[in-house]
Symmetry: C2
Subunit: 335 residues, 2 copies
Amino acid sequence: MTTSVSRSWDQAAALVMHLQETICTAVEQFEPVARFVVDDWTSEGAGGAIAGRGSTRVIADGSVFEKGGVNTSIASGSRLPPSLLAQRPELEGCSFVVAGVSVVLHPQNPHVPTTHCNYRYFEARRPDGTVASWWMGGGADLTPYYPRLDDVRHFHATLREACDRHDASFYPAFKAWCDRYFYLKHRRETRGVGGIFYDYLDENGYGESENRVAFAQPHGLDAMLSFMHDAGRAFIDAYMPIVERRKDDAYGERERSFQLLRRGRYVEFNLIYDRGTHFGLQSGGRTESILMSLPPLVRWEYAARPVPGSPEAELQHYLQPRNWFATDPFAVVAE
Amino acid sequence: MTTSVSRSWDQAAALVMHLQETICTAVEQFEPVARFVVDDWTSEGAGGAIAGRGSTRVIADGSVFEKGGVNTSIASGSRLPPSLLAQRPELEGCSFVVAGVSVVLHPQNPHVPTTHCNYRYFEARRPDGTVASWWMGGGADLTPYYPRLDDVRHFHATLREACDRHDASFYPAFKAWCDRYFYLKHRRETRGVGGIFYDYLDENGYGESENRVAFAQPHGLDAMLSFMHDAGRAFIDAYMPIVERRKDDAYGERERSFQLLRRGRYVEFNLIYDRGTHFGLQSGGRTESILMSLPPLVRWEYAARPVPGSPEAELQHYLQPRNWFATDPFAVVAE
């Protein structure tokens, strides 16, 4: 049994390292000035820290990417966090291992959206070392400042295509989940234009207990790893063409100032709501790696309101759940 | 009974409005360029928002104060939040009223510390409108970037004096509570050099259930309102002389850059840990008023480390609980 335990975690670890390489290479292709700085780390888990290893790769002060991180973490913990046990009470007493890759890119040019993706494999282990349960989670989403509908459609279409190759139910379910997850309740707006988000994806289905969707036929571990691979590749194909199209668009102080203000919303989401951030900080994760997601420069202004009819006011229409493939996505709010 | 209900809330409301006036006047005395902009609001409580009124007073782009807010909120809610019921389970089924003033000042010059204070009166009411319980909470604290020990001692000595006029146990208890409360666990450092913090202060004592301190003799409502008044005045006397002494100190890009980086810690504390922020956002408080505490401009940098022995590295010594009145406060960590 112990052999099979190591193999699936090892496979997932190899996959996240492969995705990290691929994504870093793609980012550097569009970045003429800066290069990733690699900060490999290992931790024995002393003082409540998480035990494991990882590679934090940070790019900073580029001409296209002002700040970005592409991180892997291959780690274990002796106890599942309370938030997770609430979903899976039968796993009480289990330890866990995880292998994940996490990406955030903050471009310099306000016409280029910020983006994020995260793909992870999670395994709960019984005290005797056997696997009690495994599942995957992840997603990719886009946060534009000056959105263009064709960019948004391209991003979603690329992710949809990757999803459809595996299960026709994935995209509609994961798109809606993304809209629900990346929502700032106190602002009554989504973080951006969404993408896909999923969790508790295993052989038999996906979703949290109250919204669980079961597969008609079980999908195996290999099929799910293949989905993780395709979704990771799709992230590159979904995002990079937008960078290419927008990176040389002209902007000035006004657009820059609005970008910094909107980055404030990104910080609010990540620090108030994001479960990954909270899980990481609570479980003794590496603070600098977790908070590399925060933008390089951010502005807050009391009760800032864009001028009605301005390009800045236009963004607000994009910050509600929408069916991007509808003829007029802004006619009605998506379910 | 209903008469006495209104009176104590009204008294507290009048006091917080008086403190707001006094603090705004003191701030404007040291600010040659900017003036407070007054945004009075009322809310019927529709759509889950809190019902009440308040005055949000914001100062921005001053030559001394880059951003600051002095806000009052006099509001009611139909249900106590779960976090509060966990402390006071006997108040299940009660509604509440609150009157509070909240201050955050972010100076322009990195040699001038950021500061915050908050004083509030809280009342739980039974369904028949009678008072089930009332208490007060509050505190004041200092967050320097380039700390000076004499400033820190002045700040604490001024608050201590105000506390000692009311109860000799206040300062030691509230100072220690402040150190515990304003602590960033994920950074293993305090937010700043502390000050005082207290909650559940009523006629019979103060503190949360597990750390409750009982008075030998009950203090009445008037005595507690008088303490709130004195603590509010002490905030001005504790902070303003530091502004006066440091506001013309020379600084350049280096100090400015470090200030923006450290402001990131302020954001991390307020959005991840601060109970006031979470309570406000969860109970349908006014988002813009609650988040006026966030700094105007903030920077995050991956794994930034000050050069050992530099003034920036010096700050780290101040970010642990210290007895500021000891001959050498840095010799040992305070209990």
